[in-house]
């Protein structure tokens, strides 16, 4: 599911609006700011890299500091890091908690049930995927009735099933109830608190925060997008361009760019390249009904990725017309965009006219996916 991921500090700001308890914290973009934040908190802190990727802890992006000075120095180290190839531009400086227990809670869409599912575990602090694999019995899952939404009694039942008793039932249940309000209000696709901390003195606090919002629903949340003052998703220039033109674009480790119409066909084309011993560099889905300009733009974007050594265009003409595709390819080549071998396969609507245009331009084309995949792999191997 495509979604807008919020940074921990952004998610926590929303959490606080819904009265979810979080430790005192502040954002810093420089070591000096980190020192100030730590001084304001006035107690030992944890300095956390703000990156939209998991495993930041293992990568060294989460460090403790007993003094403001120490906070500044660890912030300096973290701000210099790249985690999973993403730069760390901000850190969150947050009070270090006295931890009695680390808990996991989350709500996400279950695509198979077509319902939201609430997930909780008294054994938090690790990824829910690992936990699910290693100790599935420690994970409590409850589907949410789409008519009623999550009711407080269900939140309590989950807390009880997680093993909590007494007042802690209410304390923990309120997290689910509040997260549910956030989920419904903001079209949330996934929200997690991991770890949710039970402190030595018996309070529950959200020590981390993940909040991913359904991209398709962002039009309903313009205020939020504006408030964040940033693009919805971290992207490189090529990804940004593709998104701007509403093309699905993913970069991979191989060297053959596959430009197709339709996600399933594009995936199948990648698979066909692999079956013939090649490796794809690019998944580029032009979508339905692409015209010549769109095809040309797609080729242009694909060529921007340095790893690309050949291009395979595979079009199944339906709404998309082969003559338009041919025109776009010819135009891209004439502009000098295409500096690598180009293999074309296209069938369907206006196939003959498209073939004629390619033939006149001296561009060969093939009739089947398999031939095209074999050919493009062969060309890359020849070039090597």
């Amino acid at each position: 599911m495509r979604n807008m991921k919020l940074f921990e500090h952004e998610a926590k700001e929303i959490f606080r609006k819904f009265a979810i308890p979080t430790p005192p914290s502040g954002v810093a973009r420089t070591p000096d700011e980190a020192r100030e934040r730590a001084a304001e908190i006035g107690r030992p802190v944890v300095v956390k890299a703000q990156v939209l990727t998991g495993k930041r802890g293992k990568a060294g992006g989460v460090r403790f500091a007993d003094t403001p000075e120490r906070a500044a120095s660890v912030a300096e180290q973290i701000l210099a890091m790249r985690i999973n190839d993403l730069p760390v531009e901000t850190v969150l400086v947050e009070e270090k908690l006295n931890i009695r227990q680390e808990i996991y809670v989350g709500i996400t869409v279950d695509r198979n049930e077509r319902k939201y599912v609430v997930i909780g575990s008294a054994a938090g602090g690790m990824s829910i995927e690992e936990l699910a694999e290693e100790s599935p019995e420690k994970i409590i899952k409850r589907y949410v009735d789409p008519d009623l939404g999550l009711q407080p009694f269900e939140a309590r039942e989950i807390a009880i099933a997680m093993g909590f008793r007494g007042k802690q039932i209410h304390g923990l249940a309120s997290f689910f109830v509040k997260l549910w309000r956030i989920v419904t209000q903001y079209d949330v696709e996934l929200t997690e608190i991991n770890p949710l901390i039970l402190t030595e003195d018996g309070r529950f606090l959200a020590a981390d925060a993940r909040l991913n919002i359904d991209d398709n629903a962002l039009y309903r949340h313009k205020d939020l997008v504006e408030a964040l003052r940033r693009a919805p998703v971290e992207q490189n220039e090529r990804e940004r361009l593709a998104a701007e033109h509403d093309m699905a674009y993913v970069e991979l480790d191989g060297d053959i760019a596959c430009i197709c119409n339709g996600a399933g066909l594009t995936m199948a084309t990648l698979d066909a390249v692999a079956l013939h011993g090649g490796r794809a560099s690019t998944f580029l889905d032009l979508g339905g009904g692409a015209d010549a300009k769109r095809v040309e733009k797609g080729i242009e974007i694909a060529m921007m990725y340095p790893k690309v050594k050949a291009i395979l265009v595979n079009i199944m003409g339906g709404i998309t017309r082969c003559d338009e595709v041919a025109k776009g390819i010819v135009s891209a080549r004439e502009d000098g965009d295409v500096k690598v071998p180009l293999v074309i396969r296209m069938v369907g609507t206006n196939e003959e006219e498209g073939q004629r245009i390619l033939q006149e331009a001296g561009i060969p084309f093939l009739k089947t996916m398999e031939e095209a995949a074999a050919k493009v792999v062969e060309l890359v191997k020849e070039a090597a």
């Binding site: 599911m1 495509r2 869409v109 695509r111 198979n112 077509r114 319902k115 939201y116 995927e129 699910a132 694999e133 789409p146 008519d147 419904t184 079209d187 696709e189 359904d214 991209d215 398709n216 629903a217 039009y219 309903r220 699905a248 993913v250 991979l252 480790d253 197709c260 119409n261 339709g262 996600a263 399933g264 066909l265 594009t266 995936m267 199948a268 990648l270 698979d271 066909a272 390249v273 692999a274 079956l275 794809a280 998944f283 889905d285 339905g288 199944m316 003409g317 339906g318 709404i319 998309t320 069938v347 369907g348 609507t349 089947t368 996916m369 398999e370």
Partner: protein, 289 residues
């Protein structure tokens, strides 16, 4: 008799006055589809491709005894349009629109389920029954030939690719259903298989899946236990890296389930051959029919 759509299906098109609705209603009419009315609120009284336009689905249904709907309205309004079609008692409701918010999808699917209505999509090319010359959707009709194979797929153009391959091999289709590429869609593979199971015209099945979710695994289990006719499967995304989204919102791999390997294994366990290439589907079918 095919499934869901046959010669008696009477179709309304929601969003007929938009560019997509206008274009595809013409294409449907040309193919032979019985498009009896269109709906665009506020444009009642207009005409598109000779089809009368109404302000509400209810009016269109009552005037023309319509039975099914195809929805082309923009994503922010598609959920409302689908609920309107469900409330009016149309069945199936085919949602072509892509980028529908997932909360809207869940609401529509759940409401339809409660009322016993079949939702196809969202983000689907639609459904086609070549023998009845009826298509409710955007697929190129000429690649589908009348025959005995029930085809269901989560993809669009990949379906045309496979259907064209079957047509070239002389293998026809009873009904082809685009199940939709979104993570949350109405009709599931298992439900589609059940429909085909009850159809006397369908004597073999093709299931085109892709990575993500466990709909294919569930289908494989169902086939193993309940289906005797030949089935061929194809799974797109074998080489997709874990965690990368590949265009279809549905194609994220979550955890270890949903991988191509897991799906292929499930089909193998059900004695369902899985084609390596789209073109292998027709070849495998030939062997089994």
């Amino acid at each position: 008799m095919a499934v869901l759509v046959d010669k008696d299906t009477r179709v309304i098109i929601q969003g007929i006055t938009g560019s997509q609705g206008t274009f595809h209603s013409a294409a449907m009419l040309e193919y032979g589809t019985r498009v009896v009315a269109g709906v665009t609120p506020g444009k009642g009284g207009a005409e598109v491709n000779g089809v009368p336009v109404y302000d509400s689905v209810r009016q269109a249904k009552e005037e023309h005894d319509a039975t099914a709907s195809v929805i082309f309205v923009p994503a922010p309004f598609a959920g409302d349009a689908a609920l309107e079609a469900i409330a009016a008692g149309l069945d199936p409701v085919v949602i072509i629109t892509e980028h529908v918010p997932v909360q809207d999808e869940m609401r529509v699917i759940h409401t339809a389920r409660r009322r016993g209505v079949t939702i196809i999509g969202p983000n689907t090319p639609g459904i086609i029954t070549p023998g009845a010359r009826q298509k409710l959707g955007i697929m190129p009709g000429h690649v589908f030939m009348d025959g005995v194979v029930g085809l269901m797929s989560r993809s669009g153009t990949l379906t045309y690719e496979i259907a064209a391959g079957m047509t070239n091999a002389g293998i026809g289709i009873s009904t082809a259903i685009g199940l939709g590429g979104d993570p949350c869609v109405g009709l599931t593979p298992v439900e589609a298989i059940r429909l085909f199971q009850q159809d006397s015209d369908t004597r073999a099945l093709v299931l085109v899946g892709e990575i993500g979710g466990d709909a294919e695994e569930r289908a494989a289990t169902y086939i193993k236990e309940h289906i005797n006719m030949p089935v061929v499967a194809f799974i797109a995304g074998r080489t997709a890296p874990p965690g990368k989204r590949m265009g279809h919102a549905g194609a994220i791999i979550s955890g270890s389930s949903g991988t191509a390997a897991a799906k292929i294994q499930a089909f193998n366990d059900a004695d369902v051959p899985v084609a390596d290439r789209p073109s292998d589907v027709a070849r495998l079918l030939k062997d089994m029919l």
